[in-house]
């Protein structure tokens, strides 16, 4: 290994930062122990004298801080306060070969040899001390036994997967008998019985139902992310049919805007962005194809199991349509970090290891609600997930290449690819012609022009030429190889899959055993079989919704619940492991998950189930007595009042002012563009540079899996509300609309404004506020105009507009 290689190998470990103290070099120890067992270890008196007078003080002073159980922890798995620690060594193997300083890592390290770690890290020892330690090794490492120093705990016995399987979230799901309740006639959904039972046990009663205006506003924002029109509210309020509410639910679930609202929910989980981290940019690739695929899947009520399978393996599903290739954006939009090939393979391996971790974190967090990435450097400290499990999944990713792919049928795709290649070649020739110095000849100019014409013509005549490529993936395994002495080359082997070696303590340059690709042990049956088909992506997707179906179903059901009720039954929605929260209503979650699976993983069916419940339909009214018993509303005695997220808030404003462009799908568009009246879903999301409005208003960080939106309330947000050109524009548009639709006196215009914004009449007091605010204009028309805009902006800025009861 070259010097750079080893230095960076150490970094590889450093950047992972395992809290590796408990698992000190377990694997290295297993390998090294037999070779050193034969060395006699009882020193004579002279050797003890030498050790105690010369060596021990030196070790104490220079080494024990990091390499004994008296210091801050045992770095690199290496203990120097025990002879056995030196012999078995740490992550890099035995520290000494007694009698052979030239072969001992310890001696290399203190000499700051270029091929080893350099110790102590803060500076090289004086030569006299180096000589002493070298001599000590030459003498056979005499080291008196010290019974007060305890050996490290035995190598961990491994994870007891059988008892791990007993954890609640890994258990099979089944329907539960409805619990007994006292209050009769409240709610006719199964949910309601479970909720009421717990409320009654706590001495609580549910709130009365929300009135129809509030309810429809809540339902509409929840299902399509847009407010109801005043007409829709009026119709619902007047509807006397017994199933009036059911009809509203069905209407909204059938709306194409449902997919926009709920697609965005999914995009939070999979860290979607329009401008991703790409190492080699393909100008034909567009991220929004994935966004649109997700939106369409929700609109089509694509069963959730199928939804997952397509996103992991659409290219491996025989019956998938060509357009389903876009589903692979889940993987395809993963960050693809910069790899400086001028550097040593050790560095590049560390970068690639980061990519695996990011993908495993996102995948396991989004689908299973587990923190599998914690097992990168050591077995998971809390959950039954082994480091081997982690590398079994990493092998799937190491056999998958991120690559832009066409969403056209194969024949069309070939034609387009051929045309693009041709055009690229012509472009190159054209550039060369025009690069002639000092100036291109007339002939060259002529030829360049002809080429340009040919390029335009080919582009025009090739069918589907303009259809972008999707960020996708294909079967190919990545091999990181040395190029010359200290550079790196990357080789993809198309169609080949590979298993990867476990990285001891997460250090890519310290490989352990090779791990076959397979699913997580704890979620598999006792007889685990490695993946057989290619990378195993499709088998992994199948495992999520097969062997792991109970967990996968619980996780998605809980997420949808969280969106509708403001908090999940499990309030750690991406941690269903032992450090996550237990469910507030365990039987209810089980019952919902079991029926969700039985119902063919239908998400629309799940929404109906939730929003038709009496639990969902409660008013959010505050009740002091109930609040004293359950201040966090964990038992669901009321609806949770919620602030609109940035998308709903902006979209609602555009809707109210009558400017919303409801076109579904297509390329992203800059949110600063004043002409951009599309839903916020379509605003450009840059991974590295989130738009200020999105950033201020708690849009999730597009660089990572987001389980929840943590809404903050900050003055910078209110600066946007008070001062942004967007708010000014909307205020002006709103005034124009009101004047157009309600010509007349102040009162009738204010009434119309209230109807548009809140679907209600203003109170007398509110009318009076309006009159006195607007009255100062007197006969000054320009001032009146300005005051109207300020007034409209105040209403748009109000809490009543920003919150849903």
């Amino acid at each position: 290994m070259t010097r750079v290689g080893t230095t960076l190998a150490w970094i590889g470990f450093a950047l992972i930062g395992a809290n590796g103290v408990l698992f000190t070099g377990a694997l290295a120890a297993e390998e090294a122990a037999p070779t050193t067992a034969a060395v006699p270890s009882v020193p004579d008196a002279a050797e003890i004298e030498f050790f105690e007078s010369k060596i021990r003080p030196l070790l104490v002073k220079r080494c024990f801080e990091c390499h004994s159980d008296q210091g801050k922890g045992i770095k690199g798995g290496l203990r120097l306060d025990l002879r056995s620690g030196l012999l078995t060594g740490g992550d890099s193997g035995a520290a000494v070969i007694p009698g052979k300083p030239a072969e001992s890592l310890l001696v290399d390290a203190i000499n700051y040899s270029q091929d080893s770690a350099q110790m102590p890290p803060r500076g090289k020892l004086p030569q006299a001390e180096i000589d002493l330690l070298t001599d000590w090794v030459r003498r056979g490492v005499p080291y008196p036994e010290n019974p007060t120093v305890k050996d490290s705990p035995k190598k961990h016995a491994g994870i007891d997967f059988e008892s791990g399987r007993q954890f609640w979230s890994f258990q099979p799901v089944h329907e539960h008998p409805l619990p007994a309740v006292k209050q009769v006639g409240w709610g006719d959904r199964r949910i309601d019985a479970f909720v009421l039972h717990k409320l009654e046990a706590a001495g609580l009663a549910p709130n009365p139902p929300a009135d129809r205006r509030m309810l429809l506003r809540r339902l509409s924002f929840d299902l399509i992310g847009l407010p109801p029109t005043p007409e829709e509210i009026a119709a619902f309020e007047a509807d006397t049919a017994a199933d009036a509410y059911d009809q509203q639910v069905d209407r909204l679930l059938a709306s194409p805007h449902y997919g926009e609202k709920w697609g965005r929910f999914w995009l939070d989980l999979v860290r979607y962005c329009d401008v991703p981290e790409v190492w080699a940019i393909d100008k034909h690739a567009q991220a929004w194809l994935y966004r649109d695929w997700v939106v369409q899947a929700w609109n089509d009520d694509l069963p959730f199991d199928r939804f997952l399978e397509m996103q992991l393996a659409a290219d491996l599903v025989p019956e998938a349509r060509p357009t389903d290739i876009a589903a692979l954006g889940f993987l395809g939009l993963s960050p693809n970090y910069w790899k400086e090939l001028k550097l040593d393979p050790g560095v590049i391996k560390a970068v690639v290891a980061e990519e695996w971790e990011e993908r495993i974190h996102t995948l396991s967090g989004a689908v299973l609600g587990l923190t599998v990435a914690c097992a990168r450097c050591h077995d998971h400290k809390q959950d039954p997930i082994s480091q081997t499990d982690y590398y079994a999944l990493a092998g799937v990713l190491a056999s998958t290449k991120l690559v832009p792919r066409s969403i056209l049928p194969e024949a069309d795709a070939k034609v387009v690819a051929g045309a693009r290649e041709q055009i690229q070649a012509w472009q190159k020739s054209r550039d060369e012609l025009l690069a002639q110095k000092p100036e291109p000849s007339p002939e060259a100019k002529q030829q360049a022009e002809e080429l340009a014409a040919k390029m335009a013509e080919l582009e025009r005549t090739t069918p589907h030429y303009g259809v972008p490529l999707a960020y996708a993936a294909e079967e190919a395994s990545l091999h990181i190889l040395p190029d010359g002495t200290d550079k790196t080359k990357l080789e993809y082997k198309p169609g080949e899959a590979q298993n990867v070696a476990l990285q001891i303590r997460g250090n890519p340059s310290n490989p352990g055993p090779v791990v076959p690709r397979r699913f997580l042990t704890v979620l598999s049956s006792a007889e685990q079989t490695p993946f057989q088909q290619g990378s195993g992506r499709r088998e992994l997707a199948r495992a999520f919704v097969g062997e792991a179906a109970p967990l996968t179903a619980r996780v998605i059901v809980n997420r949808i619940w969280q969106q509708h009720f403001g908090q999940g039954l499990v309030d750690t929605p991406s941690n269903f492991g032992t450090t996550g929260s237990p469910p507030s209503h365990a039987e209810l979650l089980d019952d919902l998950a079991a029926r969700f699976i039985a119902n063919g993983w239908s998400l629309k069916g799940l929404h109906r189930e939730l929003v038709l419940s009496a639990t969902y339909r409660q008013s959010s009214a505050y009740d002091r007595a109930k609040d004293a018993i359950d201040p966090d509303n964990r038992l669901l005695w009321r609806g949770n009042r919620r602030r609109l997220d940035v998308e709903a808030w902006r979209d609602a404003m555009l809707e109210i002012t009558g400017r919303l462009n409801r076109h579904v799908g297509g390329p992203d568009q800059n949110l600063d563009d004043p002409q951009n009246n599309r839903r916020t879903l379509y605003g450009t999301v840059k991974r590295r540079d989130l738009h200020a409005m999105l950033r201020l208003l708690d849009f999730p960080d597009p660089t990572t899996h987001n389980a929840t939106r943590d809404l903050t309330t900050t003055p910078l947000q209110q600066l946007f509300v008070l001062n942004s050109p967007f708010m000014r524009e909307q205020s002006m548009a709103l005034v124009e609309r009101v004047r157009r639709e309600a010509p007349g006196d102040v009162d009738s215009q204010v009434r119309h404004l209230y109807r548009l914004l809140f679907a209600r009449a203003p109170t007398d007091r509110q009318l009076e506020f309006a009159r006195s605010f607007l009255a100062t204009a007197g006969t000054d028309a320009a001032l009146a105009d300005e005051l109207w805009k300020q007034y409209a902006q105040a209403l748009l800025s109000s809490n009543e507009f920003a919150f849903v009861d």
Binding site: A14, P631, D632, V721, L795
Partner: protein, 467 residues
Amino acid sequence: MNTTPHSALRTPSSAFPPPLSRRAWLRSTGGGWATLGLANVLNAGDRQAKGPLFAPRAKRVIHLFMNGGPFQADTFDPKPKINEFAGQRPDAVQLRTENVTGGLMAVPYAFAPRGQSGLEISELLPRLSQHADELCVIRSMHTDNPNHGPALFMMNNGTIAPLRPSMGSWSLYGLGSENENLPGYVVLCPGRPVRFSELWTNGFLPGEHQGTYINHADLSPAKMLPYLKNPTLDPVAQRRQLDLLRQLNDDHLAERGVDRALDARIHSMETAFRMQFAATDAFDISREPEAVREEYGKSPFANGCLLARRLAERGVRFTQVYYGDGQPWDTHRNHDELTRKLCADIDQPIAALLADLKRRGLLDETLVIWGGEFGRTPTSESNDGRDHNHLGFTMWMAGAGVKGGFAYGATDDFGFRAVENKVHVHDLHATILHLLGLDHERLTYRHAGRDYRLTDVFGNVVSELLA
């Protein structure tokens, strides 16, 4: 610490506020920065007990970031042997950096002892040399990777991987802000440094700890902070509008009884109104006397230094001043000429900043840090350039809690590799947090199943640097 967490929470007089979980309470308090001091407590309450903090030596940090990486032996780490062996490539410099380098390239600048302390500083920095007795120079810095991205991440985020919380975010998370009308962590650059917002990301820490990036190429405060100024309304008109909004919101809240989220938004609207004036004042360097402007000079970097002082004065916890757009100190070609210009450009402003802070009594409580993401090679690249060098470089600190006129650690004979009293970036981070009264091993945040730190599992406070 000057945090006043409770000032942000306005209790409606009509009803005693109901108990609320800590997390929900924090999320809903609208005062913004003023509440942040509690963030530490929140995490502690959630996950683990924390002991008391140390008595802080520094209240705030100004980090002058020479993005691109300056060469140590041009400035603060004299290496006469480079010139002695110029053109040769002795064994000691057979080291691999990003690019292939050739023989040793002579350093054309003279060093001399400066100040009472006799600290050696090169002729490139004559004015800064007058403050030699304030500088605590670390000549034995080293980092892990010779590429800009990973090295920038290491210096800012404590890891070579992107997207972990930045040092400024950790500091703000740990200490909160001293001024609720200003952002607590400000990043100034007359352009965009490489890797941009990843360098001041809050990562998984709560969003309010993110650095507020300000491009001060345009000195108008309204251009620096988004939405700071209303383009149409004057303060009187806006106050009137806000009074109306306040009435509507108060009625709305009264009708609903008790709701902290509603209350928080009402309150933060008022804070925002005040912030317009506070921030406009803080970021407007035209309010400085001409003599002060002259003292700093008027280059973009000088303006950054002056802004940093105005922010320090107003209690901003962490300010970074990036030298310039891209990575101006990345002198792969034409190194000597560029370095001469770059040093001339920083010399006066930094000297002025130190003098100014001292005059105002702020230097004792402000930690000033200078350096790049790594250093450069003593060997030449492409004949007249110098390559990245992660193996050894120099940084200095000045002000609160550090020894002045002091040089610590050493590189080898050629200034290539740190060899004596080596200080890794993790150690630097541990020391900076220590000076701020934070224990780098206990300032943790639980994310994705484990507790994270700025220093990961590394770092030692370099106690020798502490005054």
